[in-house]
Amino acid sequence: MAKQWFKRDEKEKKSLLSDKIFKFAAAAAGAYVLAVILIIVLQLGIESMPIWEEEGIGFITGTDWNPVPGRESFGAFPYILGTLITSAIALAIGFPLSIGIAMLVMIIPKKIGQPLGYLVELIEAVPSVVFGLWGLFVFRIYFRDLVEKPLHDMFGDSIFLFGGTPFGLDIMTASIILAIMIIPTISSISREVMMAVPQQQREAAYMLGSTTFEMFRMAIFPYSKTGLLGASMLGLGRAVGETMAVTMLIGNTTGLRAIPQSLFDSSQTMPSIIANEFIEASPVSLHPAALVGIGLILLAVGLSINVAAHFLVARMVKVNEGPIH
């Protein structure tokens, strides 16, 4: 009989117990997350009940916003619209820039690329209120004078997008600041995703005589598109929920006027109207319930972006199936 290094039975008992503890701990952690989400949804639902009873589905489709006692009327549609428009523009500007930054960091020598990557990620550390301040006192002025006014003068009459009178507190400035804020998220994740493409794939493209961009198009983008989509969804999620900087820049109009007619019109997003009005909402009126109701809609939009991203990613993974070498 060979030498015995350990007693098999003891080891087995021990590992069985520790495995049980581990499973329980994991289940508890999972349940905790679910419970928190459920409690938040429930709480938001209960608190906003009065507004749903009063306005019904009209709370989502309505455009009135009047907190004056006796003439109360609330509709969240303009703010839903404002959120979707600003986030979409921010993504449209931020996504290509982020991919461009990620590609640059990948192709330049590591000694320059790595610090540059860190630098871009540092943007993430800038508090959103600081972005708001900078946007309000610096960026807005230059952007209004150097971009918005010329555009308005040249195309104001012909293209409705540039029709509004430039003031600087509008959809466009808020969206650009949002774009800057979501760039670090998207570019750092997409860089990781693209770095993960096997070297053999890149070499296959180079072997065929591709230029660097053709190599990206041929080998890297198709291989990593799932991850790139995930990165953009995370950025979108951040843009939808971003509050402070947007509140400081979007002009904060309410009611019908919050539905923008052009890129240079003031508007309002769901987070910004909550941030603007929660402090003055009279507890005996419907006003707090309306704000909580908007919070509930915001949560629903955020969740549906995540769920949509999940399904898209799952479908793409299916398309890509097969052993990858």
Binding site: Q200, R202, A205, Y206, M207, L208, G209, V319, G322
Partner: protein, 271 residues
């Protein structure tokens, strides 16, 4: 080592008839990875319409050397290549030469099959051709059929051309990669242990492919498998610790090696 050097230069000049045309030759190639001197002072010539096998134990620098013939080291951050690689007399490491243009003349097949996973079989074959601006569907169809035929794959895939390349077996994928390399009409074909991940039948098919391709191409193949070198090469170079120890006609290298080290290696006494 000086005897080895003279031996080698002697073989290069004497093994062939004077009229042999060399497609590609390298002069005093040195390759460094950081401080590691991976390939040392390698001078070698490859006749056209022939197969040259590079053999040697793991880590002897065969693959490193092969990759420098296609300027693949450009992408390795700390690799440095010195010396000259001449393709039809033009130096590939000349600063005025564009590596992209050059790579279109030298095809390469890698150790692991690496088709583009999101593309169909068809699209994989024409990926390189499309880079050259060919869009005409009839021409593309013809290229696909020709190249898959040359790679001995056409019969197996002609009805599933639109299916993803990843549905093929490993051996089929490797032949697809050969077809993809052939589609850009290279003048030289580099193969880095193309059959090392394959079963005997797939290996045999690849060797048949090489036999057929040799009629038109200059092929340089790195292999661990000495039988393979014997079966499908005309010339053999034996490398050891970054140096070329012996080079000559395959028959001579395996049957009457000049160098003792070569003799030991081809007899399987180390490796």
């Amino acid at each position: 080592m000086s005897t080895v050097m003279t031996d080698r230069s002697a073989t290069i000049t004497t093994i062939d008839k004077p009229q042999t045309r060399y497609k590609m030759r390298t002069e005093n190639i040195n390759i460094y990875y950081g401080k590691t001197h991976a390939v040392q002072d390698l001078t070698l010539a490859f006749p056209e319409k022939s197969v040259t096998a590079l053999i040697g134990p793991s880590g002897c620098g065969k693959t490193t050397y092969l990759r420098c013939l296609n300027r693949m080291h450009d992408m390795t951050p700390d690799a440095k290549v010195e010396g000259r690689v001449l393709l039809d007399g033009a130096d590939l490491y000349d600063k005025r030469i564009d590596p992209i243009y050059h790579r279109r003349k030298v095809g390469m097949v890698f150790q692991k099959p690496n088709p583009f996973p999101t593309m169909s079989i068809y699209d994989n074959v024409v990926a390189g051709v499309k880079l050259n601006g060919v869009r005409n569907k009839d021409i593309l169809d013809e290229i696909v059929e020709d190249c898959l035929n040359m790679a001995y794959l056409w019969e197996e895939v002609k009805d599933i051309l639109k299916k993803p390349a990843m549905e093929l077996s490993g051996g089929q994928q490797q032949r697809l990669c050969i077809a993809r390399a052939l589609a850009i009409q290279p003048e030289v074909l580099l193969m880095d242990e193309p059959a090392s991940a394959l079963d005997p039948i797939a290996t045999q098919k690849i060797e048949e492919t090489i036999e057929e391709l040799k009629k038109d191409y200059c092929i340089i193949i790195v292999t661990h498998n000495m039988q393979q070198a014997v079966r499908c090469s005309d010339y053999t170079g034996f490398m050891y610790l970054g140096k070329l120890v012996e080079h000559g006609k395959t028959k001579q290298v395996f049957e009457r090696p000049v160098d003792k080290l070569t003799a030991k290696y081809v007899q399987g006494q180390f490796g």
